[in-house]
């Protein structure tokens, strides 16, 4: 009961000094705003990366020459590896009974042309027809190429959304020709817009059958990646083990040597990205916490002034029977209300700014309960930490000295 009464006193005192209270809030507002904005933005970022990776289903893995590279040393080792070849895919297809679907894809960048329009460094993907069942690619118009077209090495192309927008504005591209390094391909389908966090190129691609790709670009002798879909999510680890054993045997890797290829899953990529953003997250939050510390010091300073100004009031309260903890609570409530008020305003602005920021770089944003919780915790913590000293100073005032204070 008395807590509520003391709380009301604190509220009254703050209400009497509204402008000062508001100015005191600013520091905490800025601190919490920056922490929340950063957390929201980072959450949104990893959210959109995750949704991109979802295209690669949870039961899918990719065998590549490099795998996931974490250091320069690993890169220098990996670059000496022999490339993966079509026959490796065939070996997995034949030997891995837990692998439901296997496909290959190889990539190269070329110049594309249609009429006088020209695009440089467009990603050409030579892929098995079956890859459409492994990597989730939505068709906007027309169709993906079929197994027959792969067998007959047809010059057909499935193009990315941006290619249509840039080369065929206002025209139906189906049945039209597209030139890749001056070789003509007939367009049979267009992909839906994917959108990307990192580059605009995920919608600037041309997909052609792998066999056609080998025929037209084979002089490059490029390696390829093997896309595998396991029979189910549950057997994914065993399927990966099987594929690995097959490849090691096929490529004659001695038993005491490491794999000379890498295996990538959506989870593994996410783990690496999380590792990277963790560092960024703590770094940025650390920097913005400085504003929070400043905000806390402002509160502490104002509370010290308030205690001095209200020394006589403290004396009066003590003379009529206020105990140390009544006074302590009264001043602690005040600093808590200040910092929590600042925290709530900061969260509101932060979530709002996070939204804008994410709108600017075109990402999905989920209103983050995590960010809001963090905001509330740090502002409460700031209020308590910086409020306790002035409150203790007030509580410990001697009644005689406090009453005699002018």
């Amino acid at each position: 009961m008395i807590f509520w009464e003391v709380f009301k006193m604190s509220a009254m005192a703050l209400n009497a000094n509204r402008l000062r209270g508001f100015l005191t809030l600013l520091g905490v507002i800025i601190g919490v705003t920056s922490v929340i904005t950063i957390i929201s933005a980072l959450e949104g970022l990893s959210q959109s990366i995750r949704s991109e990776l979802e295209a690669l289903g949870p039961s899918t893995f990719i065998v590549t020459k490099f795998g996931i590279i974490r250091s320069e040393e690993e890169f220098l080792k990996a670059i000496k590896r022999r490339p993966l070849k079509y026959e490796h895919m065939e070996a997995i297809e034949e030997g891995c009974d837990l692998c439901q679907k296997v496909a290959v894809a190889s990539h190269y960048r070329v110049e594309t042309k249609h009429g006088t329009e020209k695009l440089r460094r467009v990603l050409v993907e030579g892929a098995s027809a079956g890859i459409i069942d492994i990597v989730d690619t939505e068709v906007d118009q027309g169709r993906y190429f079929a197994a027959e077209e792969e067998h007959s090495r047809s010059r057909v192309a499935f193009i990315g959304y941006n290619i249509r927008e840039e080369l065929y504005p206002g025209v139906d591209p189906i049945g039209k020709w597209i030139k890749l390094n001056n070789i003509k391909y007939r367009i049979i389908g267009v992909a839906k817009e994917k959108g990307s966090t990192f580059d605009d190129n995920s919608d600037r691609f041309v997909s052609i059958p792998y066999t056609t790709f080998v025929k037209d670009f084979a002089y490059r002798n490029m390696g390829l990646s093997i896309y595998v879909k396991a029979a189910s999510v549950e057997v994914l680890p065993e399927a990966m083990d099987q594929a690995r054993a097959i490849l090691r045997a096929y490529r004659h890797v001695p038993y005491d040597k490491d794999d000379d290829f890498g295996i990538v899953t959506a989870d593994a990529i996410m783990a690496v990205i999380n590792d990277i953003t963790k560092v960024i997250r703590f770094g940025l939050i650390g920097i913005s916490s400085i504003a929070l510390v400043v905000g806390g010091i402002i509160i502490m300073n104002i509370m010290m002034v308030s205690v001095t100004e209200r020394t006589r009031e403290i004396g009066i309260r003590k003379s009529v029977g206020a105990r140390q903890r009544d006074i302590l609570l009264q001043f602690l409530y005040e600093s808590l209300m200040l910092s929590l008020g600042g925290g709530i305003i900061g969260i509101a602005i932060g979530v709002f700014l996070g939204d804008i920021l994410i709108g600017l770089i075109e990402m999905d944003m989920s209103p983050s309960a995590f960010a809001i919780t963090i905001g509330l915790i740090i502002s409460t913590g700031t209020g308590l930490f910086f409020g306790i000293y002035p409150a203790m100073k007030a509580a410990r005032l001697q009644p005689v000295k406090a009453l005699g204070y002018e």
Binding site: I2, I316, K318, V320, G321, Q324, D326, P399
Partner: protein
């Protein structure tokens, strides 16, 4: 029945390297229902004595029994409890909370004794009624005259039905007419059974009491019994 009993109260302040003995062995006794004045010139130690009797401070040595309870060794919070339950203060400068209404000021001791809102309002209204301020409850101190402010302070002192009302120069900031009103009010409260101690340097104020302790240099110089019929007897100690 003895309300206040002090034995050899000493209070020593350290002023830098110098020790100042504000009180040098005060021994006095006050009965329940008495009206006592403590008189002395400034610097005599009467305010220090008031602070000790009011449990705002503790003596350097000696004993102080309030209601047969030794209070000179209590902790801060125990003293706060005593101030809340047993003592009502009236100060020279009124010491009201400037932003609170008269009613709220009077309620303040009840807040700290944990009374609920209904009880608080009821008791505070009754106390304001006793000082004839029932019609000024919602006024803030700056909307009241000096005499009215002091009456609010007296209502606050009364509200928790303390054993003792302790008034420190209650008329020090008031004109003589208002002073008389306040002294009449204290007198009336005395008639209804309250124990009152007034600390003052003003001889006329002291005349309202039954008994006067004259303090000088931290010691009781003499004790005077006021005979309301006009004659006074005086006893000099030491």
């Amino acid at each position: 029945m003895v309300l206040i009993d002090t034995k050899e109260l000493w209070k020593t302040f350290e002023m830098g390297t110098v020790q100042v003995h504000a009180l040098q062995g005060i021994t006095l006794g006050i009965e329940k229902g008495e009206y006592v004045a403590i008189m002395g010139p400034s610097g005599s130690g009467k305010s220090t004595l008031m602070n000790l009797i009011g449990c705002l401070d503790t003596p350097t040595s000696g004993q102080y029994y309030l209601n047969d309870k030794q209070v000179s060794t209590l902790t801060d919070d125990e003293l706060a409890y005593i101030r809340n339950k047993e003592i009502g203060f009236v100060f020279q400068t009124f010491n009201l909370l400037p932003r609170a209404t008269a009613l709220h000021n009077v309620e303040l001791p009840l807040v700290y004794s944990g009374k609920n809102k209904v009880q608080r309002e009821q008791m505070a209204k009754k106390a304001l009624d006793q000082v004839d301020l029932a019609d000024r409850m919602t006024h803030r101190p700056n909307e009241l005259s000096g005499g009215q402010r002091q009456r609010v302070a007296i209502a606050r002192a009364l509200v928790n039905e303390p054993s003792l009302i302790l008034a420190d120069e209650p008329t020090g900031n008031l004109d003589s007419k208002t002073s008389l009103e306040i002294m009449d009010l204290l007198d009336r409260l005395h008639q209804t059974g309250n124990t009152i101690i007034v600390v003052t340097h003003d001889h006329e104020v002291a005349q309202f009491a039954d008994r006067v302790y004259h303090i000088r240099d931290g010691m009781i110089e003499r004790e005077e019994i006021i005979d309301k019929t006009g004659t006074t007897t005086s006893e000099t100690r030491q």
